[in-house]
């Protein structure tokens, strides 16, 4: 009975972690769906968004190290901490500006190029953004605190103790992330179903050429979709950054999103969510049941093995569009 309770607790935590994976995967899906580009820079966008947010919050002057070195000044911050709401707003504006610049400086020049070329361009973007973020905000570790509650939920612990005689651990940060992710998916669904821009996004996703022929501006759509991916990156950055502090490693959360994408499909928003949940629950349960027999640390590779096996039987992922090429 106790093992069953432990397994249930592990599954619930896997479920919550899966949502955090899905948040990162969502950014990849949005861009791939609208432009056919696998955005290698999505993980770095998470880092860049979190760095910008925490940098503004802590009143750091962008590029202050560079300014000090070049001009011999000794600038160390604005001298005041920016209110979180204002910092969030400015970060969002920065991500919108980034989306506009990406379209203007990169994508515009690569229209009709092979998808591999676009993928290569995002690799370049990732490494540029990584260095640019460091230069802008500094490479030191920063504590991100925007008031998201953290730590064990007493309510869940007490309730499960009353029911089962064993109090479950659920992190309040994970609960908040789940609610935000649910709202985000609902918001994105409403946007894509009921707004004119959303319908244009879907049209582009379905068929670029047909969308262009009815007067939809592909470039405008790209800016919008990269902006939305920027918003998703900011949300993912807030939750992952609150857990670990904001530093370079944050960009590595993308590694957690890849098996989710392989499982859920690159073109489906529900796929990203379901894929995230399956990977989250699967890796935690596997580590709980099999990990102790083989020395633990199974999570990283297990997720990829599941995704790989899945690819063999359903290459387009759970919810992805079946690729049919007629000769």
């Amino acid at each position: 009975m106790q093992t069953l309770l432990f397994a249930l607790e592990v599954s619930l935590n896997g479920f919550m972690t899966g949502i955090l994976y899905a948040l990162v995967a969502l950014g990849f899906v949005l861009i791939f769906k609208a432009s056919g580009v696998f955005n290698y820079a999505q993980g770095v966008m998470v880092l860049f968004a979190a760095l910008t947010l925490v940098g503004l919050q802590q009143g750091i002057v962008p590029f202050e190290h560079l300014i000090n070195n070049l001009l011999g000044t000794s600038i160390h911050g604005f001298g005041w901490n920016m209110p979180t709401f204002l910092a969030l707003l400015l970060t969002l504006l920065t991500m919108l500006l980034l989306a506009w610049l990406v379209e203007k400086l990169i994508l515009k020049h690569l229209v009709n190029q092979n998808p591999v070329i676009l993928f290569m361009a995002t690799i370049g973007l990732a490494y540029f953004l990584e260095g640019f973020g460091d230069l802008m905000w500094g490479a030191d570790l920063k504590k991100l605190d925007i008031g998201v509650p953290m730590g064990i939920s007493d309510t869940v612990e007490q309730a499960t103790y009353d029911w089962f005689g064993y109090g479950f651990f659920i992190d309040r940060l994970d609960i908040t992330a789940s609610i935000v992710a649910a709202l985000l998916v609902i918001g994105l669904t409403i946007f894509s179903q009921f707004s004119k821009t959303g319908r244009a996004l879907r049209a582009v996703a379905d068929d670029h050429q047909a969308a262009l022929s009815v007067g939809i501006s592909l470039r405008r759509i790209w800016v919008i979709v990269w902006s939305i991916a920027g918003l998703v990156a900011l949300i993912a950055g807030i939750f992952w950054g609150s857990k670990s502090g904001v530093q370079f490693s944050l960009s590595l959360v993308a590694l957690k999103a890849l098996p989710v994408l392989m499982l859920g499909g690159l073109t489906s928003i529900p796929g990203a969510i379901v894929g995230g949940l399956l990977i989250g629950v699967g890796e935690k349960l596997f580590d709980f049941m099999v990990g102790p027999m083989i020395g633990g640390a199974t999570e990283n590779w297990f997720a990829y093995v599941v995704a790989l096996v899945f690819l063999l039987f359903r290459p387009q992922g759970l919810f992805g569009e079946k690729i049919i090429e007629r000769v």
């Binding site: 607790e9 592990v10 651990f169 857990k243 670990s244 530093q247 957690k256 709980f288």
Partner: protein, 428 residues
């Protein structure tokens, strides 16, 4: 005209690629200012550079010779570390300090062939303490096995000498570094009767929910941590999440920097880590650093990491190497020493309280001596504890010794095996 232009261009190129002045004492620093481990690599690189800048500015170098630091970026990547070694060894390099156990393992056979000493202060291959076999490797003043034993001795002290039946977990970076203390902890478990659980965390360690659920389910009494980089801060957050008592959570000296505790905020209060040296800037050396380095605008960094644990460790590391250079200069009667002389300097290093006072670091670390047989020092360390309110580490114990009865046979066994595999005849 064309010939003249060509000659000028060639002369420019030659001047750019010319090796450093031969009189310089060249020390490469394999740094990582980029990549996932950069928050730890940056303060260390700054501390190392700042100390030698001080010696150059204040004393005109060591024994009249200027010190030249060659920083080579590895990104904490083993392959890049080896490339850095190959690229810099021909520059007259006296000693290597790779700040990475992975890179250390790759360089051990290489430095033996090239006859260049390597100092891995508190990291690397533990059994390199046996200088009779590892002629070119030094890991003083302490090693991982000392660390494991010191942590257990601290727990023993807290429990009146009896920890039989206690549940102790080791949360470790799933790499050569993280696995180092396992054998020692297993031997100590046999001796003291505690129950050891091994809980690995894969690189980079951003997600550790499974590990901490296991610790919660297992109702562990103590958790030891061998982590690095983001793994440390996430582990401390997760420990706080499950309300694990922080005073029972003890990290190795590489899991005890400000970077590790700050993300958890006040919830990291009372977290402990082992300390090879003192904390803060309350030492005369820092006055000199301010006068000769920071105020002159010669600091390697922006000054934000001055006095942090990793900055201090690198300052200590460079002070030890500088002392070894002095020793070598005195032994051989020359100021422009060679790597072989540097090996002699390291091997005859004597760090007394007087010596540390002369550095401007009185009482900073335990005194110790190095010899041909013992390249690892005495293996003493303290315990430091995080005060989240004051945002500072405090040393809470005196010097704690490791259990040589357990560790020495392990070192002999491991180093002898290495000697057999590599046809090395013990030299002293």
């Amino acid at each position: 005209m064309k010939v003249r232009k060509l000659a000028i261009s060639l002369a420019t190129i030659v001047s750019l690629v010319a090796p450093p002045a031969l009189a310089d004492l060249v020390i490469p620093w394999l740094s990582y200012r980029t990549g996932p481990y950069s928050p730890s690599g940056i303060p260390a690189a700054d501390g190392f550079a700042d100390y030698f800048t001080l010696l150059n500015e204040r004393d005109g170098g060591i024994g009249g010779e200027l010190v030249k630091i060659i920083e080579c970026e590895t990104g904490y990547n083993t392959q890049k570390g080896v490339e850095c070694y190959e690229a810099t060894k021909g520059e007259g390099s006296l000693v290597y300090a790779p700040l990475s156990t992975g890179i250390t393992y790759q360089l051990i056979p290489k430095v033996a062939v090239d006859q260049i000493p390597m100092h891995t202060m508190g990291y690397g291959r533990t059994s390199a303490k046996n200088g009779a076999i590892f002629e070119w490797i030094f890991n003083f003043p302490g090693n991982y096995w000392d660390g494991a034993s010191i942590a257990i001795n601290h727990i023993l002290d807290e429990n009146g000498g009896d920890i039989s039946g206690k549940k102790i977990a080791l949360v470790y970076h799933n790499s050569a570094y993280g696995k180092e203390p396992i054998k020692t902890l297993e031997k100590l478990a046999e001796k003291h009767g505690y129950e050891l659980s091994l809980i690995p965390v894969d690189h980079p360690g951003l997600e550790q929910k499974s590990q901490w659920l296991e610790i919660r389910r297992g109702r562990m009494d103590y958790v030891l941590m061998w982590g690095w980089g983001v793994m440390n801060s996430v582990a401390i957050q997760e420990a706080a999440n499950i309300r694990f008592p922080m005073e029972n959570f003890i990290g190795i000296w590489w899991s005890g920097s400000e970077n590790d505790v700050i993300p958890a905020g006040e919830r990291a209060h009372n977290y402990k880590a082992l300390a090879l040296h003192g904390v803060g800037t309350d030492y005369p050396l820092y006055d000199d650093l301010k006068t000769y380095v920071y105020d002159k605008g010669l600091a390697a960094g922006d000054g934000s990491s001055v006095g942090s644990v990793l900055y201090n460790r690198a300052v200590y590391n460079s002070a030890l190497l500088a002392e070894a250079i002095r020793t070598a200069q005195e032994m051989h009667g020359v100021s422009d020493i060679t790597p072989v002389m540097m090996r002699d300097g390291l091997e005859n290093l004597s760090v007394t309280e007087e010596v540390m006072t002369s550095w401007g670091l009185p009482g900073f670390a335990p005194p110790f001596e190095v010899s041909c047989e013992n390249h690892g020092g005495d293996g003493l360390a303290m315990v430091q504890q995080w005060d989240a309110e004051a945002q500072e580490w405090n040393i809470i114990t005196g010097l704690i010794s490791s259990d040589k009865e357990v560790i020495d046979p392990l070192i002999t066994e491991d180093s002898t095996q290495y000697a057999t595999e590599n046809n090395i005849t013990p030299r002293c």
